[in-house]
C-alpha cells in the first residue's frame, strides 16, 4: 500500500515540488520566481527548500549573475520520483482505494 510522503505533503513544499516538476529534468527555478509562484515569504520559502534539500529532493545552486547573487532550485531525480509517487497516492485516495 502506497504511503503519502510526509516531506512533500506539507502545502508549501507540495507547491514547490509541483512547480519544479513542471519543468524539464535539468531546469530549475530562481528563488525569486519560486517565491512569486508559491506566494511564500523569503524566510518561509528558504526553510522549506532546506527541508527538501536535506531529503535530497531538490538541489540548490548559488551563483552570481553580474553582482547579484542568484539562487536556483532544481528537482533531483529522487525528488521527481517521490513527487510522482505522492501524486499517484493522492489519485488512489480519490479513487477510493485507500482512506
Amino acid at each position: 500500500m502506497a504511503e503519502l510522503d510526509d516531506i512533500i505533503h506539507q502545502p508549501l513544499r507540495l507547491k514547490i515540488m509541483a512547480a519544479l516538476n513542471a519543468l524539464p529534468a535539468a531546469a530549475g527555478l530562481e528563488f525569486a520566481r519560486l517565491k512569486k509562484l508559491t506566494g511564500a515569504t523569503d524566510g518561509n520559502l528558504g526553510a522549506h527548500i532546506e527541508t527538501l534539500a536535506k531529503a535530497g529532493y531538490v538541489s540548490v545552486d548559488k551563483a552570481f549573475v553580474g553582482k547579484k547573487p542568484q539562487t536556483t532550485v532544481t528537482a533531483t531525480a529522487t525528488g521527481r520520483g517521490a513527487f510522482a509517487r505522492h501524486v499517484a497516492t493522492l489519485q488512489e485516495i480519490i479513487a477510493g482505494k485507500q482512506g
Binding site: L14, A18, A22, L23, P24, G28, L37, Q91, I94
Partner: protein, 183 residues
C-alpha cells in the same frame, strides 16, 4: 492518512501551481520577444518616415533581424533555464504567418498606408488567439494595439501616421513586454 476531499484539494493545488509555472514561462519568453519586436518595429516605422523610398527594404531588414533575434533569445533562454523556446517548428509557423500576410497585401492590392495598418492588426490577431490559450495579457496587449492602430488610421492623415505607429505599435509592444515581465 487524509480523506478524499483533502486529496482532491492537494491535487487541485498541484494543478494550479503547474498552470502558473507554465504561464510564467510563456510570459518570460514572450516578454523578451515583445521587447525585441517593440524596438525593431519602432525603428522600422521611424526609418520609413525618414526615408519613405526605402520603406520595403527597412521592413525586410526588420524581419531578418527579428528572426535572428528569436534564435538569440532561444540560445539565451536555453543557457539560463535549459528550456528551448524557438525551434524549426516555430520558425515555420512564423514564416507561414508572414507568407499569408504578404499574400493578403499583394492580392488585396493594399496601399502603403493600408499595409502599415494591416500588419500590426494581423499580427496582433495572433497575440489575441495566443491569449485565449496562454493568458489574458496577450489579449489586452493585442486588443490595445489594434484599437490604437485603427484610431491612427482613421484620424491621422499622411506621413505622421508612421510616427503614430512607431509609438503605439513599437512602444505598445515594448511596454507590453515590460508589463508581461512583471505579471
Amino acid at each position: 492518512m487524509i480523506d478524499s476531499k483533502q486529496a482532491t484539494d492537494a491535487l487541485a493545488d498541484i494543478n494550479d501551481t503547474v498552470r502558473r509555472v507554465r504561464q510564467s514561462q510563456i510570459y518570460q519568453v514572450s516578454s523578451l520577444v515583445m521587447l525585441m519586436w517593440g524596438v525593431l518595429v519602432f525603428a522600422g516605422n521611424i526609418s520609413s518616415w525618414l526615408w519613405p523610398r526605402y520603406g520595403l527594404s527597412f521592413w525586410i531588414g526588420v524581419y531578418v533581424l527579428a528572426t535572428a533575434g528569436l534564435f538569440a533569445i532561444n540560445a539565451y533562454n536555453y543557457a539560463r533555464s535549459r528550456i528551448r523556446t524557438f525551434d524549426r517548428r516555430y520558425l515555420l509557423t512564423f514564416l507561414f504567418i508572414v507568407a499569408f500576410g504578404i499574400f493578403c497585401c499583394v492580392f488585396g492590392q493594399f496601399t502603403p498606408r493600408q499595409q502599415t495598418t494591416f500588419w500590426p492588426v494581423y499580427i496582433m490577431l495572433f497575440y489575441m488567439l495566443a491569449g485565449v490559450w496562454f493568458g489574458t495579457a496577450f489579449i489586452v496587449i493585442g486588443a490595445s494595439i489594434i484599437a490604437l492602430t485603427l484610431i491612427g488610421y482613421v484620424y491621422i492623415p499622411g506621413m505622421p501616421f508612421l510616427l503614430w505607429m512607431a509609438v503605439v505599435n513599437g512602444g505598445g509592444l515594448f511596454v507590453g513586454g515590460l508589463w508581461m515581465r512583471r505579471s
